[in-house]
Symmetry: C2
Subunit: 145 residues, 2 copies
């Protein structure tokens, strides 16, 4: 088994897929990537924790519905594996924007802002693969680009 | 088994004991309350994550050494149990102070400040009991008293 096929690489791929689902506003894909066997726990930046899969998924739906445009650049990704649980930490470097209608074309993002959060994502191995169980993101300051 | 003896109550007691150890600046006690079987992972507010038991314990030693006085009032404690892992979230309402020598008595705390963080603490069941594995605290604003 090469390193690219090992559990750490798989956890990193699922983590990237999770953020890609948030970028795409794809709640179905995000749900697929979350634990089905354990109740989710989530702490979004600066707000109270959310316990329970339904409530956590609704919170992600709200985050995505209220974000016109978001792109994540993940840095400092570190994984600690422990049996069927993996703890991944990373910096979420975010680029967000509003949108405004373009003349005769697709809406264009406008008013870019940068932000940064420190995330801890805990994954468990389920029959379908590694799935996100716990997510916490801490604000660590922000920059306007 | 009464509720006071169940795993959730035990996790809550260990969580309180952990914060009491920080208040007391007792690194030995804090170490006892942390996992011995798994590498610790910790995200203090606003700084990079720390992976590895030695590094995490050194970070707590530094926090305690650089804090003259700290008292935690834990609120909104919620626990999700999943087999031998428990996810506890709580608000850390902190009262901190410097110290100054008192005339003919013990040093007295002075210059009180309040702060608040949102914590996620993940515990695992070891042979010695429930022990803290993962800690993350997110800043959520602060107040000066």
């Amino acid at each position: 088994m090469s390193e690219a096929d090992g559990p750490e690489a798989e956890v990193r791929r699922v983590n990237e897929a999770f953020y890609a689902a948030v970028e795409a506003g794809d709640l179905d894909r995000l749900t697929e990537l979350c634990c089905a066997d354990r109740p989710l726990v989530c702490v979004h930046p600066g707000v109270a924790p959310i316990h329970g899969t339904g409530a956590v998924l609704r919170s992600w739906a709200l985050v995505m519905a209220s974000t016109d445009y978001i792109q994540f650049f993940l840095t400092d990704v570190q994984v600690t594996l422990q049996g069927d649980v993996a703890v991944l930490t990373c910096a979420e470097n975010m680029l967000t924007a509003g949108e405004e209608p373009a003349l005769g074309g697709e809406d264009q993002p406008t008013g870019f802002r940068g932000g940064k959060a420190q995330a801890m994502n805990v994954f468990t191995k389920e029959s379908t693969g590694w799935r996100m169980w716990i997510h916490q993101a801490s604000p660590v300051g922000s920059d306007r680009i």
